[in-house]
């Protein structure tokens, strides 16, 4: 038993601008798909469509099969700028998405405590966001997503507001969480290294309007990507993908310059 996330022929236009055109991809349960492409290729639009924040001009997104029974919010975002309420404590932020659900006080507290424990935030439950570093803030964002037990995580450049070292640490955190429990997700990034390290498959989008250029499986299982033996294969993938992205990005730049 499992589920599939099917994105079928999704197109979207803003007023005059076509942002996405005929994007189709299917994710299996437990799979992480990275989406990469030049800026303005509609990566975030795609995520917005999947998460129900943007109504696509055409196409559909559906979950086929059985989703986890205790999920409160099947598609859950992790935001680039964390999107924490600065007036709420860590626990208050993590508990926010539970407040409009009918849950007993006990269960609510237990879920929050569990999410905090899984992200190593238990001792910071009462801290305000302003007291935390950027990396810790994003861990609050991750805890807030875990608390609703989503079927699909929608990660919108979750590390790009962080410095390089913090990014490394958080990638480890993500990997830990994903290793412990089967996680399905779409991981939007502009960082190719991040995509290759985190994803099972990488989808490259063409420049505006965003279309699928290619979808490539990362040839090494996630747990083994740090091993020296894996480096050759990963570097080859990096080269291949980068060649495509560079081409798209250059063309996109020229088109922007031409207006």
């Amino acid at each position: 038993m499992g589920f599939e996330l099917a994105i079928a022929n999704v197109s979207h236009s803003y007023a005059k601008m076509r942002a996405l055109e005929d994007v189709s991809v299917t994710l299996n349960e437990g799979e992480i798909l990275a989406v990469i492409g030049p800026s303005g290729c509609g990566k975030s639009t795609l995520l917005g469509v999947v998460g129900g924040l943007i109504a696509p001009s055409s196409g559909s997104v559906s979950l086929l099969g059985e989703t986890p029974p205790d999920t409160l919010n099947p598609y859950t975002f992790i935001f680039q700028d964390f999107a924490l309420l600065p007036w709420r404590s860590v626990a208050g932020n993590v508990g926010l998405p539970l407040e409009h659900h009918r849950l007993g006080v006990g269960e609510r507290k237990a879920r929050v405590a569990d999410a905090l424990a899984r992200t190593g935030l238990s001792e910071f439950a009462d801290a305000l966001p302003k007291q935390l570093s950027g990396g810790m803030r994003q861990r609050v964002g991750i805890a807030r997503a875990l608390v609703v037990k989503p079927a699909v995580f929608l990660m919108d450049e979750p590390l790009s507001a962080l410095d390089a070292q913090t990014r490394e640490l958080l990638m480890d955190d993500f990997e830990d969480i994903w290793r412990r429990e089967k996680t399905t997700g779409i991981y939007v990034t502009h960082n190719l290294d991040e995509a290759i390290r985190m994803a099972d498959r990488v989808m490259v989008l063409r420049r505006r309007p965003g279309r699928v250029r290619e979808i490539v499986a990362v040839p090494v299982p996630r747990g083994e990507r740090r091993k020296p033996a894996a480096q050759g294969a990963l570097r080859a993938l990096h080269e291949e993908l980068w060649a495509n992205i560079r081409e798209e990005a250059k063309l996109a730049d020229r088109e922007v310059a031409r207006g």
Binding site: G51, G52, L53, N73, Y75, T76, F77, F79, D81, A83, L85, P86, W87, R88, L96, P97, E99, H100, L128, K130, V148, L154
Partner: protein, 270 residues
């Protein structure tokens, strides 16, 4: 350029220091000293007969007048009347301002109606409307309270909808992404997010309310600080006049201090 002698050889610093300045700070003792000197000079000018006591009473005479008015109970009467008016007027205006500002911030229909309406009405000096309100409502407390309420309403409505507009879009998207119902987003995300702007407007509105209170009482009241100031002026009782002004200033300072406390406790998360 700074010249430095090191080990007998003359060396010149590569760059001269240019990083100073542009960081003014408030030094408490200088502030205090300034006021002490100012009041001292004022008292001296009066005592030495440089200025006539009729035109500008000395600080000591103002203190005397304050004491006399306080002991006779006259001051309490005027202050109570004034505080009741400003309290009622401000509360009515503030509540309506927050409600309408919130509606303008959240709904297109209210925005379409409210923004041009406020743009048209805000610049009118509210005291000019007092005669009209007296005509409509009679010569009781109502017209004064309405004038103050109206003066408070506009800045608070504007501050509220500007605050709502300034709530980070991503926070609202976050609420929506978790499928939070509209009223949860409005009260748990938008309202606290707009609070700093609302409180800034509250601060502005209190000084407007104070001005309108005094003006309205000068036009039609027998009790209240405005009425008291007008009488003192008409009777050339400049010591009473100055005492009244000191009381008005003190009320303004108290309100401002109170607001600082409110801001500190409600916005400690910033």
């Amino acid at each position: 350029m700074v010249d430095m002698s090191v080990g007998g050889t003359r060396r010149r610093a590569l760059v001269s220091f240019r990083g100073g300045g542009f960081a003014p700070v408030s030094i408490t003792w200088i502030s205090v000293l300034f006021f002490v000197l100012l009041i001292g000079f004022w008292q001296m000018a009066s005592s030495l007969g440089w200025v006539s006591g009729l035109f500008l009473p000395s600080p000591l005479r103002i203190v005397d007048a304050l004491q006399r008015l306080a002991l006779s109970g006259e001051l309490t009467q005027h202050v109570t009347a004034s505080l009741a008016r400003i309290g009622a007027g401000w509360a009515v205006g503030a509540v309506l301002g927050v409600v309408f500002g919130g509606l303008i911030g959240l709904f297109s229909i209210w925005r379409s109606v409210g923004v041009p309406f406020i743009a048209a009405m805000f610049p009118i000096p509210k005291i000019a409307l007092l005669p009209l309100f007296i005509l409509w409502l009679g010569i009781g407390e109502a017209p004064k309270i309405v004038t103050i309420a109206l003066g408070v309403f506009y800045p608070i409505a504007i501050g509220t909808y500007a605050g709502v507009d300034n709530v980070a879009r991503t926070l609202i998207r976050m609420g929506q992404s978790f499928n939070m119902p509209f009223h949860h987003i409005a009260f748990k995300i938008v309202a606290p997010g707009a609070l700093p702007s609302v409180l800034a407007a509250v601060r502005i509105s209190t000084s407007i309310a104070l001005i309108l209170m005094v003006s309205a009482e000068m036009i039609g009241a027998d009790k209240g600080l405005g009425a008291f100031l007008l009488t003192a002026g008409n009777l050339m009782q400049t010591d009473n006049l100055m005492a009244g002004i000191v009381v008005v200033a003190a009320i303004g300072l108290c309100i401002s201090g109170l607001l600082t406390l409110v801001e500190r406790s409600m916005l400690s998360w910033r």
